[in-house]
Amino acid sequence: MRALIIDDERLARKELAKLLEEHPSIEIVGEAMNADEAEQMINELNPDLLFLDIQMPGRTGFQLLESLDSVPLVVFTTAYDEFALKAFEVNALDYLLKPIQAERLSEAIHKIMEKERAKAGRGAGKKLGLEDQVFVKDGERCWFVSLANIRFFESDGNYIKVYFDTNRPMIHKSLNALDDRLDERAFFRASRKHIINLSWVESIEPWFNGGLMVKLRGGDKVEVSRRQAAKFKDMMSL
């Protein structure tokens, strides 16, 4: 696995790199000392895994993740960020407390390798498919959401509401920009307001003006506009 270490302190990066020598399965492809540098390196090197410090000068680790379209696997490294870590849903991430203990690191890497095996389908430069994950932060709460769990996206002004489980946090992005990034075999632009996850579609009914009403598993209903309805029928009927 190709990993990127992101930490503003040289000694902290060095220490982690040294600890990782014991794990030949992890290849360190780069080290970044702030979020800007990291963002550039992520786009160039496309790593599978980030070891990410939360508190950094300039943008924080969270802000870096928010700016990424697709988020690689992330292990947070922090000295003491009780509150920041509490923000996460249980099991949503792994984190290492500095000074990092070798056994704890082994555990984390073990978990990551399992996760990675489970989603072997990822590739560089491709559009975002169901195996990819995104990072969503809404006020105090944060999630790593697998796209497979997102039922649909709804545009709301300059924001997009992301519907998954019982949550609907907002991300600051336009629906058009998101549509360009999503794999069209998995997601469908139903109207100006909605993008739906095709794997969640339960039933389709004819609607007014030649449109369609799509019912998703879980009970949400999303209207497909007349313009998109023909395209949608084509896709769903093989």
Binding site: D8, A12, N34, A79, Y80
Partner: protein
């Protein structure tokens, strides 16, 4: 002023019946003398620290001085009352009159003393409660933020990496960290500490942060040798320096400078801490703001209005924190 009013009322009460203009003039003189005497008495008590005396020593002193004041008061009014024609010399020098009137004044002065001591004891009690409360608050915030876990674990992490790279330096770092830990564990027992000791903690703290931030943190000291013996509240300067690192240096990708400068002028210690960064007046509503309010309150309680504390943006790239502390005699 209050005493003068009390004396006028008391004096008015002492004469029943017809009050002539002369009497009123006389009463004003009398009140004025009372005011002068109590004022003198008060400053005498302050100079000799009577408020700090224990009761068995204090009570005889008060009674003796009150009697003396009564007699003095009696003779002070003679040169006023005779020209006004209220008394003649025979009456004025009659021993029974002297005794009676003096005792009467002595009682007035005694009542005044009781009132004065009660007021001051109460005030002092109040003040010590406030001081205690703010010390407790500081202890608590020391436990929560001073002994900043983020700092300690980051320092430990840096030291761990340093063990391979520079064993000598890592040993030194362990000593610095243990000095800081010991200091923050013992400060709660100390009310004030020598500036020299406080400076050592600041140096250790900055030494550790330099390991972590490396070339991003530059430090400068310019210490007046006369400042070493001043007494300062423990960890106050360290806290301010730590704020400078936390809100200044650590937010800057390029890092910056922390400068500690002291100067002794007019028997006052002037401490100036400069750090790179920008002070956001409204951005400190949460914990940082509370820390600053705490600092200024702590100074006020310890030194009254003689201490000075200010934080401001010196220019676009530097924040200046200035403290002026008077010399306390231990």
């Amino acid at each position: 002023m209050l005493y003068a009013a009390v004396q006028i009322v008391a004096a008015l009460a002492s004469v029943n019946g017809a009050i002539s203009t002369q009497r009123i003039i006389f009463l004003f003189y009398e009140a004025f003398f009372c005011f002068l005497l109590t004022h003198g008495f008060r400053s005498y008590m302050n100079d000799n620290r009577w408020l700090a005396m224990i009761m068995p020593r204090l009570i005889p002193r008060v009674i003796a001085s009150v009697l003396l004041l009564g007699v003095v008061m009696y003779f002070l009014r003679i040169p006023v009352s005779i020209p006004l024609g209220l008394y003649n010399w025979n009456v004025a020098l009659d021993p029974s009159n002297i005794l009676g009137q003096s005792v009467y004044y002595a009682i007035l002065f005694f009542l005044w003393s009781v009132f004065y001591f009660m007021y001051n004891y109460f005030e002092r009690y109040n003040k010590s409660l406030k001081l205690e409360a703010s010390v407790k608050e500081i202890e608590l915030s020391n436990l929560k933020s001073q002994l900043n876990p983020h700092f300690i674990f980051n320092a430990l992490n840096s030291i761990r990496a340093l063990v391979d790279e520079n064993p000598e330096k890592s040993k030194q770092a362990i000593n610095q960290l243990s000095n800081i830990l010991r200091n923050s564990l013992t400060t709660e027992k100390k009310g004030l500490t020598k500036f020299g000791d406080e400076l050592k903690v600041v140096r250790d703290y900055l030494g550790l942060e330099s390991i972590r931030f490396e070339e991003r943190l530059k430090t400068e000291f310019d210490i007046d040798p006369a400042s070493k013996n001043f007494l300062v509240p423990p960890l106050m300067i360290q806290t301010l320096v730590e704020n400078g690192v936390k809100h200044g240096i650590s937010k800057l990708t390029e890092g910056g400078l922390i400068q500690v400068k002291t100067k002794v002028e007019n028997n006052k210690l002037n401490i100036r801490i400069r750090n790179s960064g920008h002070y956001h007046i409204n951005g400190h509503k949460r914990r940082g703001g509370l820390g600053l309010v705490n600092t200024s309150q702590r100074l006020k309680l310890l030194y009254g209005n003689e201490a000075h504390f200010a934080i401001s943006n010196e220019n676009d790239s530097f924040v200046l924190t200035e403290i002026i502390i008077p010399h306390l005699h231990s």
